[in-house]
Amino acid sequence: MAKKQAMPKSAPGTHVSTKDIVNKKIAYTWWEPEVQYSWSVGPAMSRFLEELKNGKIVGRKCRKCRRVIVPPRMFCEHCYGPTDEWVYLKDTGSVETYSISYLDADARRIKEPILVGVVSIDGASPKHGFMHYFGGMKPEELHIGMKVKAVWKPKEEREGSIRDIIYFEPVKKGGRKK
């Protein structure tokens, strides 16, 4: 029968500090995997990345739910049937959300913050967009709802990657900033 005592009644386990490891106070083994991957990106993203090379953002339309979807896919996950046609979208949009990051991908601290967020792309259905960097502004200028425009790499440097867009910068009334 269960006894009525505070649970968990103890905390089994032995804490190890980084010092214990550095000073070899504990025994450990070490392994650095060397593995590489190459992904085929599939029909939808092949076209999307190819169009980025041309300086264009392209989506797919699903006639059933009437969504214009970006990033594009060949089937609609809601209607569960094929999407119907390619649609050219604008290279402008609005900031859906963002962060000002002082962490790199390995959680190392960085001095110059990365401005990153989600851009809802003009011409696609509301709230449809993708993650990207922001630039051409001070961190404190960035805000949700801000109108932004893609800054493209020079054509000869594009390679069919999301990084063919360098970042999104603010759109000022009456045309591009500067």
Binding site: A11, G13, T97, S101, L103, I162
Partner: protein, 386 residues
């Protein structure tokens, strides 16, 4: 479906790094749960393991690696995994083993060793992103939370001070929890607001730590429950829902998939007014804003109201709706799947009056636990009732 009782729980120390292997941690948590339930290995019919991405500890087919620690050698055994949702999904999977009649006694073990990954477990999180559109941007996982937190704050005009109250409450609640990694009796809102900026709006003390640890839970069918305990706690409802992978195609301000999972669990439990009928909530709190976001997803209040309840003290241990009385992930630690210890074991201990210094006053009878995972898309919910 058969009625299912919880008859034992166990939990190891949670720390950034523990000396014991995953197998040994699984053994320690399981042994504690077996002692509480008063059963031996041969009494267990089937075992469910929950453990998050293999990339953390670099041991693939981790379920196989942990078998012996999970008292599963020679038994039906399965590993389930849906990222951060695992800590509540594994006990849901354990429940269906007994509810279906396939097992009379089922053990659920949740294990995580994040400390093995260098230079930081964050490096392993690189492997969860979409390889085509996301990885070329070199994302950090904290970005996801920062972007969701910002959207949530902006949608409801929520101040960081109100969100910081959650970190303060949970780190204070963790004082007296024998497993706690980051309990702090003296922490203040100012400490949180002055802590290092990681990825605005997320600061260092808004985040739960990576941890090593394990937890365990034992279920029993109704017919057998009286053999083991005279105060069983019942699984009253379970729910789980996943949304599309395309997280940049929805508004992040509200976790609709958590609400769908909650509705499923409440329907099963016959709960129509969650705020009134639930005595304790353990929503998933890897970040302080997530507790608020999930209180709203769990339909414990209207959208945007969770910060107000928090400010008014309603969610304190002695409030009308104690939230994360365990100390949560923010205070006790975040060994991903093993947070079953705070989200489900804690409810069991609270409902049986065994929570010691963490005990919620007033004889709580109904508790809801919830976890959240994959890429901001998975909601897992369990309701326990005595």
């Amino acid at each position: 479906m058969r009625e299912v009782a919880v008859i034992g729980g166990g939990m190891t120390l949670f720390r950034r790094r523990l000396l014991e292997t995953g197998k040994e941690l699984s053994y320690l948590a399981t042994k504690m749960a077996m002692e509480e339930a008063g059963i031996e290995k041969q009494d267990i019919d089937m075992v469910v393991l929950g453990s998050a991405p293999d990339a953390f500890d670099g041991i693939h087919i981790k379920g196989d690696n942990l078998v012996d620690g999970c008292a599963a050698a020679g038994k039906p055994y399965v590993r389930v995994f849906n990222g951060g949702g695992t800590g509540v999904f594994a006990p849901i999977a354990g429940w269906w083993h007994v509810a279906s009649g396939v097992a009379d006694v089922a053990l659920v073990v949740c294990e995580e060793k994040m400390g093995s990954c260098y230079p930081h477990p964050q490096t392993a999180f690189r492997h969860i992103w979409d390889p085509i559109l996301d990885r070329p941007l070199n994302p950090n996982l904290v970005w996801l939370f920062a972007m969701e937190m910002n959207r949530y704050m902006t949608a409801h005009d929520i101040k960081k001070e109100d969100i910081a109250l959650v970190a303060v409450k949970n780190k204070r609640n963790a004082v007296g929890h024998p497993c706690a990694q980051l309990a702090d009796p003296n922490i203040t809102v100012e400490d949180v607001l002055n802590s290092e900026m990681m990825a605005w709006p997320v600061q260092r003390l808004d985040i739960s730590p990576p941890s090593d640890g394990a937890s365990a839970l034992i279920y029993c069918s109704k017919d057998k429950a009286r053999q083991f305990t005279d105060e069983p706690v019942w699984v009253a409802g379970t729910g789980w829902t996943i949304d599309s992978t395309m997280w940049t195609n929805r508004d992040l301000y509200f976790p609709q998939y958590v609400a769908n999972a909650a509705k499923m669990a409440y329907k099963m439990a016959g709960i129509s007014n969650p705020f009134k009928e639930i005595d304790i909530a353990e929503p998933y709190d890897p970040f302080d804003y997530k507790e608020l976001h999930h209180m709203e997803g769990l339909l414990l209040c209207d959208k945007g109201q969770a910060p107000i309840l928090t400010r008014e003290g309603v969610t304190q241990r002695d409030g009308d709706l104690p939230v994360c009385p365990s100390g949560g992930l923010l205070g006790v630690g975040n060994p991903i799947a093993a947070t079953m210890g705070q989200k489900v074991c804690e409810l069991y201990w609270q409902l049986t009056g065994k929570a010691g210094k963490r005990q919620v006053p007033g004889d709580p009878r109904v508790g809801v636990g919830q976890a959240w995972g994959d890429i901001m898309q998975m909601g897992t919910v369990i309701v326990l009732r005595k």
